[in-house]
Subunit: 231 residues, 3 copies
């Protein structure tokens, strides 16, 4: 599978085991309804591939990890597009749940703004690392009500406790890399010039595990951390 | 509703949506049995008011956020007052549980000593912020056995993990602002001269949400973080 | 009970309430099958003693807290010793579960390398403190699959969230004291020259509690943090 056209989600197989999905939707890396089938195809490939062990999600657009098209933010009750929006959200929610359950380790390498779908995707991946200087996270504040089952944000209190989860969902406008590390939103905040090398080394290390061992470890962690409806 | 008399819990409505409850029980801000109906009335008002969105709990007494009357600390087996103490604790426990479930966001702004009832109240509120220089937290060490259902302290391991919760309950004498932040006891430790402004801005930001959205976000967080008996 | 022979796990009663178990297996503090009955005996003594309130696990071997004999690391499917290894792991798993449930507070004072059985033991104790300069933690990466029920590592996501737990289990080679503190793996990282004094003071403080209160606090914490199969 080669890199796809510009203006989509580029998928590169660094090796049989190590895949990389790069959001390349200039100028603002806005994820919209047309990107749903693209993301669905990538996750389907990860699920069915017998060699894939790790996938890194990152961005090719300066200043933006991944943001959200207004269509997703339209309030259901104020929009004639409600059925389509709702259906899109349901589809996204399913894709995120499948990503969490896949026997592939997924890593978000966050540089630039991650908002809405961007923060949901980051929370759906297994690990998150943020550029200390350039990551800006903000949650999709109406998301909890919109996304069926609470979406990946349901995992927030498990990552950081009730008080901090509530602050991020309802209070904080933006979270930088260091605060994201303090709150446990990301695994670690890494100096920007070391982020790519750090994530690359981690991904290559994961490739040294057997695929079956990865699946079992992910399963054990999931049974002991995610809400029942994600099991 | 105007500020109440000195020597009680002052309640001020900064706006329809933004309330402030200030412990003003000089000289040591000791919470005793007579303060139970006062706190109960405040929480009842918050529950029934159709405009309230956020309440900040703070202190008007230098050096003390909120502490505990000896009557609550009397050991049941060594006290003829057992039924009254037990009843008071049950009433407090109910008030704290209602505060957690209310569709109003509650914030503790902790400056000075928070012990016993003070730490229970802080843990019952949705978020906690501590003065970096002036907050001193200590847990009510026999509380777990006394408070029905474990009380808000039952949420400690969810905030900070089992090891740190046990250390605070059974080991550490006092916790300052920075350690409280490291352990996740408070959302953040804020320099003392910035604490009031920080909390005020956060409270005003929360007022921009619709009351129904606040209630739904709190409900989602609660389902994913609090023990079943707090649901 | 006096200190045991060199080359075993030394048990010293600093006082009736305060016990100390010291791994003294030079030159590398390797825990092997013969050490299982020794650890079993120590935990049995802690369970049955009516005065013991706290036990500190530490090391007498420079550079090593506790490591693991190759026999435990043999892959079941590649070893004729499978039944013995499996049985040893089952026995260890039971000992760790009993330690978690005992009405004695257990503390790991980690200086040097803690790998395999060493990290499992540390996670089974109630609290962990690490030498800032000299602790090196690494997880027994195939452990989750081998240890029945997931072992103490099942508690990792509760201590630090899913993303960090997965990184430690599948990614990070080694964790030093400060990273262990940031991730919540240990309660705190303490400067090496203060570690012994800090843990000693904590242990003596715990001895001031009544044994029954300790048991009740541990029980409340356990109900609110550990997975059901550890209850």
């Amino acid at each position: 599978m080669a890199a796809q056209d510009e203006g989509s989600i580029g998928l590169v197989q660094v090796s049989d085991a190590y895949w990389r999905a790069t959001f390349d939707l200039p100028p603002l890396n806005i994820f919209g309804p047309p990107n749903i089938p693209q993301l669905d195809e990538i996750v389907s490939s990860l699920e069915s591939d017998t060699c894939a062990k790790v996938v890194v999600f990152d961005s090719a657009v300066d200043g933006f990890f991944l943001t959200t098209h207004d269509d997703f933010l339209a309030k259901p009750e104020g929009s004639a597009r409600f059925p389509a929006v709702r259906s899109g959200l349901q589809a996204l929610s399913d894709i995120f749940a499948r990503l969490s359950k896949a026997s592939v380790v997924s890593i978000s390498s966050i540089r630039g703004r991650a908002t809405g779908v961007g923060s949901e995707l980051a929370l759906a991946t297994d690990m998150r690392f943020a550029s200390r200087e350039k990551a800006v996270l903000s949650l999709w504040k109406v998301g909890t009500a919109l996304v069926p089952g609470g979406g990946p944000m349901a995992s927030l209190p498990r990552l950081m406790g009730r008080g901090r989860a509530l602050e991020l969902l309802i209070g904080a406008d933006e979270v930088n890399g260091d605060m994201a590390e303090l709150y446990g939103y990301v695994n670690r905040s890494v100096p920007d010039d070391q982020l790519d090398g750090f994530v690359d080394a981690l991904a290559r290390g994961i490739c040294s595990f057997e695929k079956q061992a990865i699946a079992e470890i992910k399963r054990t962690i999931r049974l002991n951390s995610l809400p029942f409806f994600s099991g």
